[in-house]
């Protein structure tokens, strides 16, 4: 396996980690207005992701940095091409990030509800737009011979990409609901579980509609073949089984299933793309690939050494924090 492939896989891993972790952060943020009746509830909801959201977001920053380092043309084409969409994501992430810190600093209801809105919008918008972005990556976007995006902002909002966007949004919300039922107690946990029950079917339907649309709009099926392999099937099975675990209050298992669905969705997207990183809808040979978009072997070697040393360390200490803050959040635990 060459270094370009290794970095493609590593970026897939980073995005898998990002959507797995930040996915439930977004879901929890989106559910904030729907599972809480009062400020105590809202505090419980926010505190379930309190110690983690910042570290989870770094998966995105690292993915961005890794794309820049390993595939500079991908970085340049995608972020200049998806300009306004990315700017919206950035504004949303800024608002959401400060909202967690600022909301608690004043207990006037208007102050708090303002920041609650910031958390809601700041979670909803990225959850939707990341799905739109990946839909466009799968479908292909107009890229010319000089590796530049030549479409416009509204070209990104095509039906297929909007569909994948809504699928992503729904899946992350379900993931968040399951996480919330796992990490909270009492009424909040109960409400989150009920929402998960209601959300499950729409997510399943969206997944199959998206898979059908992918047949029409992408080359997923010719890439993956009749037998798509174990990954997509595992993801589908995990999603289908989720409802059983939710109904029987096996919150941990339910969370594992939505986590699997997210990770397998990301892997399936990357497998379809491989070895391309951005498909040109104008001419296949204008697509960016892991070879024509990449850094030199020297840089890839240096970065590989650093990644091999530090990625496991990051996984260790981040995993450790999930262990430290493993207890369910309740009104009592917040009062202490």
């Amino acid at each position: 396996m060459d270094l370009n492939t290794i970095w493609f896989i590593l970026i897939c891993v980073l995005f898998s980690g990002f959507f797995l972790l930040e996915g439930f952060d977004y879901g929890v943020g989106i559910l904030l207005p729907f599972v809480s009746k009062n400020d105590d509830d809202r505090r419980i909801v926010i505190n379930t992701i309190g110690p983690f959201w910042d570290g989870n977001e770094v998966w995105l920053l690292t993915a961005g940095g890794a794309i820049f380092a390993a595939f500079p043309h991908w970085y340049a084409t995608m972020f200049s091409g998806f300009y306004l969409a990315l700017a919206l994501i950035l504004v949303a992430l800024i608002l959401r990030g400060v909202a967690f810190e600022f909301r608690r600093k004043d207990n006037r209801p208007r102050w708090r509800s303002t920041w609650d809105w910031a958390i809601f919008i700041g979670s909803l918008l990225p959850a939707l737009l990341f799905g739109v972005a990946f839909g466009n990556l799968l479908r292909g976007v107009p890229i010319d011979a000089s590796k530049n995006y030549v479409g416009d902002f509204f070209g990104l909002l095509n039906p297929y990409a909007l569909l994948t966007g809504i699928y992503g949004l729904a899946l992350m919300t379900l993931h968040g609901a399951v996480y919330l039922s796992l990490r909270s107690e009492g009424e909040v946990s109960e409400r989150a579980r009920n929402i998960a029950k209601k959300l499950w079917l729409p997510v399943v339907v969206l997944l199959f509609v998206a898979l059908g649309a992918s047949y029409l709009f992408t080359d997923m099926y010719s890439k993956l073949g009749v037998d798509p392999g174990v990954v997509p099937i595992l993801g589908g099975a995990a999603l289908l089984s989720t409802i059983w675990f939710v109904r029987n209050k096996h919150d941990g298992w339910a969370f594992l299933m939505t986590a699997l669905t997210i990770v397998t969705s990301v892997i399936t997207i990357f497998t379809t793309l491989f070895p391309r990183v951005m498909i040109s809808s104008l001419k296949p040979e204008w697509s960016l690939t892991i070879y024509n978009a990449s850094s030199t072997p020297y840089t890839l070697t240096v970065m590989t050494i650093i990644a091999v040393i530090f990625v496991p360390i990051v996984l260790l200490y981040q995993g450790w924090t999930y262990y430290v803050f493993r207890k369910r959040v309740s009104k009592k635990s917040l009062a202490a």
Partner: protein, 454 residues
């Protein structure tokens, strides 16, 4: 307006704004860690209270630094796609390493620190604030390694139309980093020092909790003094480095139009910028040579000679940065630094006399002095970045060649995002200042915000 100007404006606004918050994070994280270490060692509850009081202000600032930093990771690709393509092989690596080594550590352990007061052992809790301080300052190192490449490119070769990395070790041991990094760190220390000094003075003037704020005042005095001295000493070495690698920046900073040996230091120069000559100047003889070479002789090249030299070397073009802007940025930076050194020395005098509340006028002055490091930090970066003009990567790539093609990122997109970021950043600055003021003027004995949970 043209695309280049818009892109530069966007970068300038978002980056200067980001750097309003960074230095305080760098310096205050260490100071809070020191407070908690004393608490850990002595068990004195006063030090715990100090850790929590200053830690609370630290967190407000920290959040702003984090969220405005997200923009930095992506905007090279957004507005500077040609630059990203050209230097990605080199410039992307330190950015990715910064995220992997520093951001993960910082963001994970800030969570452990804030939420872990009663969930991890005292030792682990102390370690977590030190890890935050370490990681913040480590992230500064990596982003400055990236910036150093723009100031003084090393370890690369231009091949196939782009800069390719040939020597990672040379990249991370760029001579520029050895002066720039300590200068930025010292800037962080002095920013935190004056932040704590100013707020402590505010309380001492009102005699609210004098024991708490006397102790804070004294600690901050030492810290600010160390920072102010370091900033000056390292800044001096940095200027000497600059004379070697970017003499044009030095010449512009001094409005030195003609080469001179010995070169004098400008106290005030009024120049004719179209003719590029001096109209009026008040200069201290030979001082610039002394600053540049540690001796009273030695030629410092002037703007006009360098322009001729660069045209020969790099082809026709204008190689002169915006002189007046650079000149005044340099003066604002050095002026702020000198003022801080003076104020820190006065503070030390009162601290040693054990009479920190001795002079009301001085106490009234100090809260305003919180602004000084912000002036110095911002002016310093404007000098560093604009002084490199017209180069994006010195001697290798010009600014105009790095911007995203207008066919991809149209002017209207950039105008929209400038408006968006300016509005958002303006509003958030209002909120941040409101919160910092509110919590800075609280009596630490009357806590209202719970620790360990949002």
């Amino acid at each position: 307006m043209d695309a280049l100007l818009l892109a530069r404006l966007q970068f300038g606004i978002t980056t200067v704004y980001h750097f309003f918050f960074v230095p305080l994070t760098l310096g205050l994280s260490i100071l809070v860690a020191i407070m908690q270490t004393v608490y850990f060692r002595t068990g004195d509850p006063m030090w715990k209270k100090m850790t929590q009081f200053w830690g609370k202000l630290f967190l407000i600032n920290f959040a702003m630094g984090v969220v405005t930093g997200i923009v930095q990771e992506f905007q090279f690709g957004m507005n500077w796609s040609e630059y990203s393509r050209f230097v990605g092989d080199i410039f992307g690596a330190p950015l990715a390493i910064e995220a992997l080594l520093a951001f993960f550590l910082e963001s994970t352990f800030i969570g452990v620190w804030f939420f872990g007061w009663d969930k991890v052992s005292k030792r682990v809790h102390l370690a977590s604030i030190w890890l935050v301080a370490f990681a913040s300052n480590l992230s500064a190192l990596w982003i400055l390694i990236a910036n150093s490449f723009m100031q003084h490119p090393v370890g690369y070769v231009v091949r196939n139309g782009r800069a390719e990395m040939t020597d990672f070790l040379a990249l991370i041991t760029n001579p520029n980093i050895f002066t720039q990094y300590p200068h930025v760190l010292a800037g962080g220390v002095v920013t935190a020092g004056f932040f704590v000094l100013g707020i402590s003075a505010w309380h001492l003037l009102r005699q609210s909790n004098p024991v708490f704020f006397t102790r804070s005042f004294k600690l901050a005095t030492v810290y600010a003094l160390i920072g102010a001295m370091m900033v000056g000493v390292v800044g001096h070495s940095q200027a000497q480095e600059m004379v070697q690698t970017q003499p044009m920046k030095m010449a512009a900073a001094e409005a030195l139009f003609e080469s001179a040996d010995p070169a004098s230091f400008s106290v005030l120069t009024i120049g004719d910028l179209t003719q590029r000559k001096e109209v009026f100047a008040l200069r201290l003889p030979a001082l610039l040579s002394l600053l540049a070479y540690n001796q009273f002789t030695g030629q410092v090249q002037g703007i006009n000679d360098l322009q001729i030299e660069y045209q020969k070397k790099y082809g026709p073009g204008d190689y002169v940065p915006p002189v007046a802007f650079i000149y005044w940025s340099f003066r604002a930076m050095v002026g702020a630094g000198t003022a801080m050194l003076g104020l820190a020395a006065i503070a030390l005098y009162f601290a040693l006399k054990n009479n920190v509340a001795g002079n009301k006028l001085f106490l009234r002055l100090l809260p305003w002095a919180i602004l000084l490091p912000y002036l110095g930090n911002s002016a310093g970066w404007l000098l560093t970045e604009l002084g490199r003009a017209p180069w994006l990567v010195f001697g290798v790539m010009k600014i105009e060649n790095g911007v995203s093609p207008a066919s991809v990122v149209s002017n209207i997109y950039v105008i929209i995002t400038i408006a968006l970021f300016t509005l958002l950043y303006g509003a958030l600055m209002g909120v941040t200042v409101y919160l910092l003021r509110r919590y800075a003027t609280h009596d630490p004995d009357q806590e209202t915000v719970a620790l360990g949970a949002y």
